[in-house]
């Protein structure tokens, strides 16, 4: 046995240790989910009261990209390009972002139950967004939501920490308290400003809804997913290093405090942008990372991109259900995600019986 591992006789050992095999598997999943997502976007756009075919959707998309000639009537083209397409793409971006946030938060807090909704970030972001809307300052909306998310994050972690060690259960309880307060503030602000259907508006912020999303929403949510998602992906190895706790991460050369603060701020920023578009949609960040982990393991280089794709796919279909199930009335999409997410939460709780 040689103790010091050097480069000397490595060429003689072509070691097929798993990362190669895993790399191929991850690539296959990425391509598969990517194709499925693209197809789902097109099909989801065809679904609705006005009957459209996938060919119509393609024709409209190509025409707007300047590749083909417009073949649809202006009305039908408007349904595709101005109504449904931005909504479906917003759903995809919000779903991808929420799943990314969940995966990152679960790693950083070593808490399988972490999620931007359960830890109160979403309700904090809602408060920020609603206040700005009431004050009538539209452009700073995502930033106000970010500030709200950050305040909520600090409040949740601070409260959990003050109550003792930062265990998963304490963190979720603290998130519940913070959510309750920020949810109430959101409702109060909307009620106080009282223009139009305030009940409906309150529901949309508290339960989340993609109704009324347009290309600006796509730009905000999609832009945030790309601008923040890329550095998060680049941090995959750092997130892996947290698997055995802070001491192990530090021993592997990770700047623990700075990395955690930066990455959590990133998730707050992303949550802010998403909530500004859609209100607080729950459980997407909880469900999808666990499903992906179950399928391909816990390494973040694979987990993060696949969670994002799976989150996009999930929310595209959840939102399609939300706008068509009770047509012509619309369900806040958060009701559907909670319908799936609640049971998943219960299963996770049972599976992690030792959870403190």
């Amino acid at each position: 046995m040689t103790a010091r591992t050097g480069a000397s006789d490595l060429s003689s050992r072509q070691a097929p240790v798993l990362p190669t095999r895993d790399g191929a598997r991850t690539a296959a999943w990425t391509v598969g989910l990517g194709v499925l997502l693209a197809a789902s976007v097109v099909i989801a756009v065809t679904i609705g009261p006005a009957g459209l075919s996938p060919a119509d959707v393609w024709a409209s998309v190509l025409a707007h990209l300047g590749i083909g000639e417009p073949t649809l009537s202006p009305l039908r083209d408007g349904i595709v390009w101005e109504l449904r397409m931005p909504r479906v793409l917003s759903a995809a971006a919000v779903g991808a972002g929420l799943a990314l946030c969940g995966a990152v938060m679960q790693a950083l807090t070593r808490n399988p139950l972490a999620d931007p909704y359960l830890l109160g970030l979403s309700s904090g972001a809602s408060v920020g967004a609603v206040i700005v809307i009431v004050l009538g300052a539209g452009l700073v909306l995502p930033f106000a939501a970010f500030a709200g998310a950050l305040v909520a994050l600090v409040a949740t972690l601070g409260l959990a920490n003050a109550a003792g060690a930062l265990t998963p259960t304490r963190t979720v309880l603290a998130g519940l308290a913070v959510s309750a307060v920020f949810g109430a503030i959101t409702s109060l602000v909307i009620f106080w400003s009282a223009t139009g259907d305030s009940y409906r508006e309150i529901l949309n912020w508290l339960l989340g809804s993609l109704a009324g999303t347009d290309w600006t929403s796509v730009a905000i949510a999609g832009g945030a997913v790309i601008v923040i998602g890329v550095p998060l992906l680049a941090s995959a190895r750092t997130l892996d290093a947290f698997a055995f706790g802070d001491t192990a991460a530090a021993a592997l050369g990770v700047h623990v405090g700075r990395s955690r603060a930066l990455l959590l701020t990133g998730t707050a920023l992303l949550t802010g942008a998403l909530v500004a578009v859609s209100g607080s949609i729950g459980f997407v960040g909880l469900i999808l990372p666990h499903a992906v982990r179950f399928l391909i393991g816990a390494r973040h280089r694979a987990l993060l991109p696949l969670s994002a794709l799976a989150g996009a796919l999930f929310l595209v279909w959840a939102d399609t259900g939300a706008r068509t199930l009770f047509d012509p009335r619309e369900l806040p999409v958060g009701i559907l995600t909670a319908l799936v997410g609640g049971p998943v939460f219960a299963v996770l709780m049972l599976r992690n019986r030792g959870l403190a």
Binding site: A3, L10, T20, T247, A251
Partner: protein, 287 residues
């Protein structure tokens, strides 16, 4: 030539409590050093200070002539590795993936692990006797297997200094001797090893050099035979013991008899003892 570890007047307080009090210690290069002492003596903290996980209030830890605290984190993680006692569950990670974490200080943000990294992971799995377990879920392993995985992960950092916190805790006798035999082989291969240990006879049987810590101070250091005397064991651990000669390998064998009357040494005693250490250590070095 493998570099030796020296700490020089390392001091560390947590809150207002002095945890590590002017610790000077040395582990010769390519040797196994054992860090001994009762619970709460500061063994883990000292390891964390050397590994740069906590920052000392004063003093330095050097490997050869390199000040470890002055290295960048990533560079330090390529020189010093710590195998922890804590064997927390890492859900969903397989053994080979856990060992691959040791490559963290070498791999870039976007680049995946390369062939060299894979080969090193494979070698470390072999060195720790884990080849057959590489696809197993870490959470399903026994305590001894987990300790070996932690060791392999540390080895994948290709360190020059290997620190271990209670590597034999919760292990059966076979696993204990396997672990310590492995550490000795690693040291012979050119690694400097410092392990915090509880079992005095194991330490005496395997370590080339022992450092006894009490109340955050070094109270004795040197060759096991010179350091582990009945008198020292009584003062530090508060138990009566006889030091015998091992019938097979001739190393010190410690037989405990009963709890000593008068109890353990107080903080004032450790101060006196610490003053006496240098003389003992110097004597041991000459011998």
């Amino acid at each position: 030539m493998t570099d030796a570890l020296h700490t020089d007047r390392v001091r560390f307080t947590r809150g207002r409590r002095l945890i590590i009090d002017d610790v000077d210690c040395t582990v010769p290069g390519g040797r196994v050093g054992a860090l001994l002492g009762p619970n709460g003596a500061g063994k883990s903290t000292l390891l964390h200070l050397i590994a740069g996980i906590e920052r000392a209030d004063a003093g330095t830890a050097r490997l050869g002539d390199r000040d470890l605290a002055a290295l960048r984190r990533r560079d330090r993680a390529r020189v010093v590795a710590l195998a922890e006692q804590e064997v927390t569950d890492a859900p969903g990670l397989r053994v080979a993936e856990v060992v691959a974490l040791g490559r963290t200080p070498y791999v870039g943000a976007f680049a995946g692990p390369g062939d060299l990294d894979r080969a090193i992971v494979r070698r470390c799995l072999e060195d720790a006797g884990l080849t057959e377990l590489e696809d197993r879920d870490y959470a399903t392993l026994s305590g001894g297997e987990r300790q070996r995985v932690n060791l392999a992960r540390a080895l994948a950092q290709e360190p020059e200094l290997l620190l271990l916190d209670e590597p034999t805790n919760h292990l059966d006798v076979h696993a204990q001797l396997t672990m310590l035999g492995l550490l000795r082989e690693l040291a012979h291969g050119g690694l400097t090893v410092l392990a915090a240990l509880h079992d005095l006879s194991l330490a005496a049987g395997y370590a080339d050099h022992v450092i006894v810590l009490a109340e955050g101070r070094v109270v004795a250091a040197g060759e096991p035979g010179a350091v582990l005397t009945p008198e020292l064991i009584r003062r530090v651990w508060g138990v009566e013991a006889s030091v015998l000669e091992h019938p097979v390998n001739g190393r010190p064998l410690i037989a405990f008899s009963e709890v000593a009357r008068g109890g353990r040494m107080s903080r004032a005693d450790t101060a006196d003892a610490a003053d006496a250490v240098e003389a003992v250590a110097a004597g041991a070095a000459e011998a």
